[in-house]
Symmetry: C2
């Protein structure tokens, strides 16, 4: 009989910022009862995942152990924590626990996918406790950039774990509970903290974080100082910011119009769940046209330059009847996430061409981050004094730096990345297994594996273009007609004229001279024709396209 | 008879950072004699130009007026100013003028493309003067991040123009002439400056720029403090930085090894042209293995995360016999250009996994920009007191801001972007024509137009995947065998099983029921089959792939 052990296994979020998915287990080795914390998505990009809609963690490890899974806990309603719930819940079918606002968003996602919401449970904040097998879990309110974010206190027979979720130290967050040190000193006083799994996003930000309240005045002053139309964008889920912006509008005698489905949804869920109580009256985009421009403020989606969101649409011209012009103000009350710079700057330049004044986060006056900076992280370490610190929610560089400062501060710490199963039972995390992890792509309506080759083929098509060769053979393997070439994404003309002509000439010369043995062998024929296409293309256009050869063999009827 | 006029027409670089290409003309309207300043490239990205090697300005306007082109002047040897010379010179065949170092790089480019270098002329700095039709042109040394950068003084019967080129105000640039205000006050005193065409890159940087000399000590201290292998990257052409890095290595008893073809080429050209006189001795990568790691420093290419450059190679494992490990130091003595963040961070994370300590520009200790910041630009305005200021070398947002501060400072200024021809003869720039401009893509060995559809097709293939349908008909338009489907970059399985099966079933059902009229009409048949593929795909996999239909008609023999 093996002793019970406490394990931690990130399936996503550890070694990347995105698709958070963390497993905890307690019990005999290989028979641990399991809980899952968060089930998020990450977003595709053209360089590595063209055409993909959204990316999720591969949960096959959990699927193979469904009988051991007790529950799913969602810390907050950001897409990188909750976004995969609608897609993947049917594979897990475990009860889902979340605070009120988060659960409301979860409900919408479940309904969108046609799942029953009977498994969804609203949990009040600590001391309310969820029992899930050997785990007792409490939700602790933390400040972040979405309402009702929570850290989890996870009690096990092997000790108490605090899973920080995403957090910042904001005593005046404008919406929801402010940060209170006492909540965490109490947690540590009640029972020593064995391990703190901690947000690492802003470990490279060396100054203490600032409160949401500090940008209220600058935003108010900015908007008051403008006479034209004012438009502001931020993350749709940053309800506190939406409130800050809307109140600044009201202070400047401007009526607010929300644009973008995600934003309207967030505001209405926040209002329905009682999180947002005194949001200024808004007008619909249809009615906004009747409001004088100097008395109107649009709050819109698309702060990251998303092509279909309101910001990008406005940068291309009229959107829902509104059009920006010279002297208008556009405020990015947001930070550009690395990788989105190009799209955001394209929009800024388009606004510049229209004569619109663009303000952004430069100078830090109009945006604050939702994550704890380095001094704040160190403060959190000191509040909880955990035996171990395991950095999460970060790329490898963040995890490494976070582990370094924890170690410097005298706390045992180690880097645990996706797929590493660590045993927390002893005095230090001990790697006990490496799990095959990966990513699932939602592509249209289909889930495909990152290793299926579909996306790899698309990247190759994008880089090299595609040449298709059709050859028809009769039942005696004589060619019927000539080989036929089609190009897609390949230059039409090479050094010596049309590429199609050069290719067909060479292919037909080869087919005419080819022996029956080769013509009868599908694989060899395919390979020979492919090689000719690549060679001729290299000579003619200096690159080797992707090649598809279709050999049709017509049988006598 | 029309009066003479002085015109300015950017074909690239005005409204973007990259592919600088500026035309000046003097003479009767439509008969102006022309000179070209710079002939640069810009770089492709996966989002908009997958598979493209390099991007150049479309110079068709100039090609149609070759008899009027007097000369080409190159301000400095950065790729965005000289990179298209080898590709496009044969279309222009005008004499090329540049300073010694720039001309040496130009020579290599011409030779690589097999062009004669007889048209290349080395020009000394002012007062040496090139006469080109009605233009008299002088090269004025300016500090930048490459040796022998120059501003141009362009004298015309209609007045004196100063074309700033890329510049910063650096009195101690480590390599080459330091910045001297006197050079420019003298120019303005000699003859009033009608127009200043001015670098706008750093107009949003509000503090005064710093000298190359200010980072010497921090880099030296950083390297001295490390005991493992030290690797540093910067732009290959930043010869002064290479010197700073190499001298810091020497001060720490480290032998330097240069890695990357571009870097070795820059250093040897700088030495051959006498620009670089006392560069520390280097060892080859082959010999570097014999040097103890604590006495070695690699200076490598790839600061922007370029996949094939040394930095990226080292992040993936062994490169030229060298391999990084725990405790080594990697220094990015560079800034990440917007759009390259993702690739650079991927490398930083890979180094983090190896346990390598990575230092970057955060804090500004180890890198300074090569461009004038806002206070420096204003200083330049005051030195020259031009009648007009026309911002160049910037995206629209940079040009707009630069024009704004010039106007605020009392100088007439306007935004002139690619394709706008302005008449500078009067007191203010006056738009007289809009020229169709664009981009040429080097794709493999072929130049294709941005509007040719080749790249658009590749993007579609990347986003949607490709379905190919083959149908064979006899001379009576009866189908021979079944329709055949091939997928590339498309998920194999849909809702109801293999996508290929669903597609072939539907296509064959359609073909079996189709009338002769349709089967005889290539276009209608193609469109019908295409529509079926898109419909079935939408149902099965939730997206519409690109479709190629190949209908082969076999004639009786």
């Amino acid at each position: 009989m093996s002793a019970n052990r406490l394990i931690y296994l990130p399936l996503g979020g550890a070694g990347e910022i995105g698709m958070n998915c963390y497993v905890y287990g307690y019990g005999p080795a290989g028979k641990e009862r399991l809980i899952l914390v968060d089930l998020g998505v990450t977003f595709p990009d053209m360089d590595t995942t063209p055409g993909v809609d959204v990316i999720m963690p591969d949960i096959s490890w959990l699927e193979a152990r469904l009988d051991r899974l007790e529950a799913i806990f969602i810390t907050h309603a950001h897409e990188d924590h909750i976004g995969a719930l609608g897609h993947l819940w049917p594979r897990l079918k475990a009860p889902v626990y979340a605070r009120r606002f988060t659960a409301a968003i979860a409900k919408l996602k479940m309904e969108e996918h046609g799942h029953s919401t009977a498994s969804l449970h609203v949990v009040a904040s600590r001391p309310e406790t969820v029992e899930a097998g050997p785990f007792r879990v409490q939700f602790v309110p933390v400040s972040h950039s979405i309402p009702e974010s929570a850290a989890l206190v996870i009690d096990t027979p092997a000790g108490r774990i605090v899973h920080s979720g995403d957090f910042k130290l904001d005593p005046t967050p404008m919406v929801g509970e402010g940060w209170e040190d006492a909540r965490f000193t109490e947690i540590a006083a009640e029972r020593p903290v064995k391990a703190l799994m901690c947000d690492s996003t802003n470990v490279f930000s060396l100054h203490a974080g600032r409160s949401e309240a500090t940008i209220r005045e600058p935003i108010r002053d900015l908007i008051k100082g403008h006479s034209g139309l004012v438009v502001a964008t931020t993350f749709a889920s940053n309800v506190a910011r939406l409130k800050t912006l809307a109140e600044a509008a009201r202070a400047a005698d401007r009526t607010v119009c929300l644009m973008g489905r995600a934003m309207k949804r967030m505001v209405s869920v926040a209002q329905e769940t009682g999180v947002l109580t005194d949001f200024p009256r808004t007008v619909s985009p249809e009615d906004a046209g009747d409001v004088p421009r100097g008395n109107l403020m649009l709050i819109v989606t698309g702060s990251q330059g998303e092509r279909r969101a309101a910001t990008a649409q406005l940068s291309r011209g009229k959107y829902l009847g509104m059009e920006l012009k010279k002297g208008d103000l556009f405020l990015f009350s947001s930070k550009t996430i690395p990788g989105n710079e190009r799209e955001v700057l394209k929009i800024v330049n388009a606004f510049s061409e229209m004569g619109v004044d663009v303000m952004d986060d430069a100078g830090g006056k109009y945006h604050v981050s939702g994550h704890a900076n380095r001094p704040d992280l160190e403060h959190m370490h000191r509040l909880l004094l955990p035996d171990m610190l395991i950095p999460m929610h970060g790329e490898h560089r963040h995890l490494r730096e976070h582990a370094r400062i924890a170690t410097e501060g005298g706390i045992v710490s180690d880097i645990v990345t996706n797929g590493m199963m660590v045993d927390l039972t002893g005095d230090a995390p001990k790697v006990v297994d490496y799990i095959e992890t990966g990513r699932l792509y939602l592509d249209g309506s289909v889930l495909i594996g990152a290793m299926d080759g579909v996306v790899r083929d698309r990247i190759r098509l994008a880089l090299n273009g595609h040449v298709m060769v059709t050859v028809i053979l009769d039942d005696d393997s004589d060619t019927l007609g000539d080989a036929w070439v089609e190009l897609r994404g390949v230059p039409q003309n090479g050094r010596g004229g049309p590429l199609v002509d050069a290719l067909e000439e060479e292919l037909n010369a080869f087919l005419n001279g080819a022996g029956k043995k080769l013509l009868r062998d599908d694989d060899k024929l395919d390979e020979a024709l492919r090689r000719i296409v690549r060679q001729v293309s290299m000579e003619e256009i200096g690159k080797k396209p992707e090649v598809t050869v279709v050999v049709s063999r017509l049988m006598a009827e």
